[in-house]
C-alpha cells in the first residue's frame, strides 16, 4: 500500500503548494480547523489563494494567519464576524469576498465532492444570494441553482486517523471537515492521534481512507476557545 503518512505539515504539503490555489478548509470558528496545515501554508509564502471556509479565523489564529500575511485573494464564507484583519483588508479593497449561506456552502462542497455539478435549493430565493442565478419552480415552489465546489487542496483536521487514511472527528469539531475532505483534487489531513491501520472501529469511521491522500500527526494541540461561556455552580 502506498505510504500516506508524513512526519509534519511541511512535508505533507511538499510539492502541492503554488500561487492562486483554491484551498478547502475544514472547521467552524476555531473548532476543527487545520492549524498545522495553515501554519505551513503561511510559511510557504504562496499567494493569491482562494480559501473556502465557513469562517475566516480570528486575529492571530486559523485563516487569520493567512489574511495577516496577505496570502489570500478571495474568501468564500458564510460568516466572517470575528476578524478585524479581515474587515480592514476588505474595506481597503485588498480582499475579495463571496458570502454563501452556511447550508448552501456545506452542500456546495458535499455536492462537488460527490460529482454533482449543481443543485437546487430554496435557501436565498428572492435575496441578493439568488441574483443572476437560475431559478426553477418545482412542485409550486421556487428554487435557486447553486454550483458544486471542488478546490485544489483540502486541508482538514481530525481527532484520530489511521495509517491508511481513515479519519474520526471529535464532537462538534466534525463540522465542515467531512465535506471538505471530499471536495478537492487532493486532501491532506492532520490528526491529533495517528494509529496503525486496523485499530479504528470500522463502524466509527467518519471519512473513509479513499478521500485522504496524505496525513500526519500534528500533536500536541492546545485547543483554542473563542467564546468561553460558563455557568455558575
Amino acid at each position: 500500500m502506498a505510504n500516506k503518512v508524513y512526519k509534519d505539515a511541511k512535508s505533507a504539503l511538499d510539492g502541492l503548494l503554488r500561487d492562486d490555489l483554491m484551498l478547502m478548509c475544514g472547521g467552524f470558528g476555531l473548532v476543527g480547523i487545520p492549524d498545522r496545515l495553515i501554519e505551513a501554508v503561511r510559511d510557504s509564502g504562496v499567494k493569491g489563494l482562494t480559501c473556502v471556509s465557513n469562517n475566516a479565523g480570528i486575529d492571530g489564529a486559523g485563516l487569520g494567519l493567512l489574511l495577516e500575511s496577505g496570502q489570500v485573494r478571495k474568501m468564500i464564507s458564510s460568516y466572517v464576524g470575528e476578524n478585524k484583519t479581515f474587515a480592514k483588508l476588505y474595506l481597503e479593497g485588498k480582499l475579495e469576498l463571496e458570502f454563501n449561506p452556511q447550508g448552501t456552502l456545506a452542500e456546495r462542497c458535499r455536492a462537488g465532492g460527490a460529482g454533482i455539478p449543481a443543485f437546487y435549493t430554496k435557501t436565498g430565493v428572492g435575496t441578493l444570494v439568488s441574483e443572476g442565478k437560475e431559478i426553477r419552480n418545482f412542485d409550486g415552489e421556487d428554487y435557486v441553482m447553486e454550483r458544486g465546489l471542488v478546490g485544489d487542496i483540502a486541508l482538514v483536521k481530525a481527532w484520530k486517523g489511521d495509517t491508511a487514511g481513515n479519519l474520526v472527528y471529535r464532537k462538534a469539531a466534525r463540522n465542515f471537515n467531512p465535506m471538505m475532505a471530499t471536495a478537492a483534487k487532493i486532501c491532506v489531513a492532520e490528526v491529533e492521534e495517528l494509529v496503525e491501520v486496523g485499530q479504528l472501529d470500522p463502524d466509527h469511521i467518519h471519512t473513509p481512507a479513499v478521500f485522504v491522500k496524505r496525513l500526519f500527526c500534528g500533536a500536541p494541540y492546545d485547543r483554542k476557545i473563542e467564546q468561553r461561556t460558563i455557568r455558575k455552580a
Binding site: F28, V80, A106, Q227, A233
Partner: protein
C-alpha cells in the same frame, strides 16, 4: 410597561411544544431556553453540527470541541449527537426542525425578513440564517418593535436586503405578539398586548398593515 427581553423570551417559550426540535438564534432567542415549561421536553439543534445542546458548562466542565453556533462553549445532554455541517443543514433545509426563533432588523407584513446586512456597513455574513428561515417549519422573530433611531421595524415592505421572502410566522416584540400572514394578504394581526401597552401605542409604532380583532 412593555415587556423586558426576558419577558419576551418567556412569551416565546410558550410557543414550544413537547417533542419539538428547535434552533435558537443569538440574543433574546438564546434566553428562551431559560423558560421552557416543565412539562415540555424539547431538543435544541445547533447548526454547526450538534443535536441535543445542554446548558453552558461549569468552569471545570469546559470542552473546547463542544460549542454552539455562536461559538460559545456548551454541554451535552443525554442523547446528544454530532454530525457534519451538510447533515445539519439537511435537517434544517429538509424541514425536519420544528421551530426557529431568531432576531430581526425588519419584518414586512408579507413575512419578508431582513436580518443580515446593512448596505454601506461592514457585513459579517448571513451564517445559517437564510437556510433556517427557508427550511424550518415555523419561524418566530423576537425583536425590539422600533429601531434605535425610532423607526418601526414592522413594515409594509422591508428596506434592507432580505434574508428570506415570506418566511416569518410570528413576531414577539416588547409591545406584544403578532401573527404574520405569509401566504396571504391579511398582513399582521395583533394577538396579544404586553402588560400596560395600548392598541394605540402599537398602531403608532407599526408601519405594517395592522389587524386588530
Amino acid at each position: 410597561m412593555a415587556w423586558t427581553r426576558d419577558q419576551m423570551a418567556a412569551r416565546a417559550a410558550k410557543e414550544l411544544k413537547d417533542g419539538f426540535y428547535v434552533n435558537l438564534g443569538i440574543g433574546i432567542p438564546t434566553l428562551v431556553s431559560n423558560y421552557v415549561p416543565e412539562d415540555v421536553d424539547i431538543t435544541l439543534q445547533s447548526e454547526n453540527g450538534m443535536l441535543g445542546v445542554g446548558p453552558f458548562p461549569l468552569d471545570n466542565e469546559v470542552d473546547p470541541d463542544i460549542i454552539n453556533a455562536g461559538k460559545q462553549t456548551v454541554t451535552e445532554v443525554k442523547g446528544t449527537s454530532y454530525f457534519s455541517s451538510a447533515d445539519s443543514f439537511a435537517m434544517i433545509r429538509g424541514g425536519h426542525i420544528d421551530l426557529s426563533i431568531l432576531g430581526a432588523m425588519e419584518v414586512a407584513e408579507n413575512g419578508d425578513l431582513a436580518n443580515w446586512m446593512i448596505p454601506g456597513k461592514m457585513v459579517k455574513g448571513m451564517g445559517g440564517a437564510m437556510d433556517l428561515v427557508a427550511g424550518v417549519k415555523r419561524v418566530i422573530v423576537t425583536m425590539e418593535h422600533v429601531s434605535k433611531d425610532g423607526q418601526s421595524k414592522l413594515l409594509k415592505e422591508c428596506t434592507l436586503p432580505l434574508t428570506g421572502k415570506r418566511v416569518v410566522d410570528m413576531v414577539i416584540s416588547e409591545l406584544g405578539v403578532f401573527s404574520v400572514d405569509k401566504h396571504g394578504p391579511s398582513g399582521i394581526t395583533l394577538l396579544e398586548l404586553a402588560d400596560g401597552v395600548t392598541v394605540d401605542e402599537v398602531k403608532a409604532k407599526t408601519k405594517a398593515t395592522l389587524v386588530v380583532r
